[in-house]
Subunit: 225 residues, 2 copies
């Protein structure tokens, strides 16, 4: 056998893919660019990933599992339900998610979901996990209202993420001085919204009784792949 293990090479290529998507802000990245950034020849990318879309989907899985790891880590030290909510929100707006690379990847993956079944599936997986985590964290406070509220909070997280992520971009035309990007304001907003939802007197109940958590799975219990 030669130089590096398959696993290592795949990791390198995926990392390079994310790096290049981050640098260009597009999925219009040539395999040559990616290969060069990974320090290999263009042909090798096709050896390990059959085509470009496969490489993109692998990159997407990587971003998703990185986010999952962030959440899991943040959740590890949380004991109270409040802590749990905080952990989820902090992870979503933390440094990890606000790197230029991650932002670029997320936004472009949303667009990819329009034409790729698999991308859509992965995005859906992310949403289900987020929802599940939120329900688990919110149930002690608001019981059966949790699924309904969680759906809104999930949407709010995505929406505010998008806004602050693009705002960030707006303020940094050149990519110097990166790093201190900040999602904490977004996090604050989410926590406020949760406070509001938990305080409300609820005359009108669930919008969708249909999916009121049929199998209340533990947070992050789903298989990654």
């Amino acid at each position: 056998m030669a130089r590096k293990s398959e696993e290592e090479r795949r990791r390198d290529l995926i990392a390079a893919t994310i790096r290049e998507i981050g640098a260009s802000g597009t999925l219009n990245v040539t395999t040559s660019q990616i290969a060069k950034s990974a320090g290999v020849s263009p042909g090798l990318a096709f050896h390990y990933f059959h085509d470009k879309d496969t490489l993109f989907l692998a990159a997407m899985r990587s971003i998703l599992s990185e986010y999952k790891a962030d959440v899991t880590h943040a959740l590890a030290g949380a004991r109270t339900p409040e802590d749990r909510v905080n952990a989820i929100v902090q992870a979503s707006f933390g440094m990890g998610s606000f790197r230029r690379e991650a932002i670029s990847a997320w936004v472009n993956f949303y667009a990819l979901a329009l034409r790729s079944e698999e991308a859509r599936r992965l995005l859906y997986l992310y949403q289900r996990r987020l929802h599940s985590n939120l329900v688990f964290a919110l149930r002690p406070r608001i019981a059966e209202r949790a699924p309904d509220v969680a759906r809104r909070i999930g949407g709010l997280i995505d929406g505010l993420y998008l806004r602050y992520a693009l705002d960030t971009k707006m303020l940094r035309p050149r990519e110097e001085a990166v790093g201190e990007v900040d999602g904490s304001e977004g996090a604050q907003h989410v926590l406020r919204a949760i406070a509001a939802e938990c305080t409300e007197v609820h005359e009108n109940d669930d919008i969708s009784m249909a999916d009121a958590d049929p199998a209340p799975m533990a947070p992050l219990a789903g298989p990654q792949e």
Copy 2:
């Protein structure tokens, strides 16, 4: 002069651009495709729009002003503040915004904003208008808390739009049976969130006093272009 007026041609080409973006789900659409769809030769697209990015930005402006028109129209019949809030939400989740074309355009424009200053500016313009409208509609109910709440509601609208728009896509692999796509569940969620925010007792106030509506402009007062 020949066949059609400049304005008409531009309109045709912009419409064709949106149509093609909608059909493909990408900005990777050739000028030939667009031209063909508009019933003209490829060269003409470059005559009226200097290059492809210009055409995309024109398409984005078109989508934005269409949305603006929807909101304005919905707002026209609204007399009470409640009506105003409803109008904004209904427009955001209405038929106009949930056409395949519109969804595809919006999502791809978010991605475009990562690399185009101008796209970012346009998106920012949209956000400011939405915020402004929300503040105007919410102020009677919650006074000085309006700007803060409006920021969250704006984010929530974007986030839920994205979710339901992509869900929609998920359920319709083939583009037959389109049309009856539905954003009303998203709208319901937004109204719930607003109810929750308006009910809350507010111990802790604005997250950002800085921009507490320095010039309380009327809704949709800003110049379109």
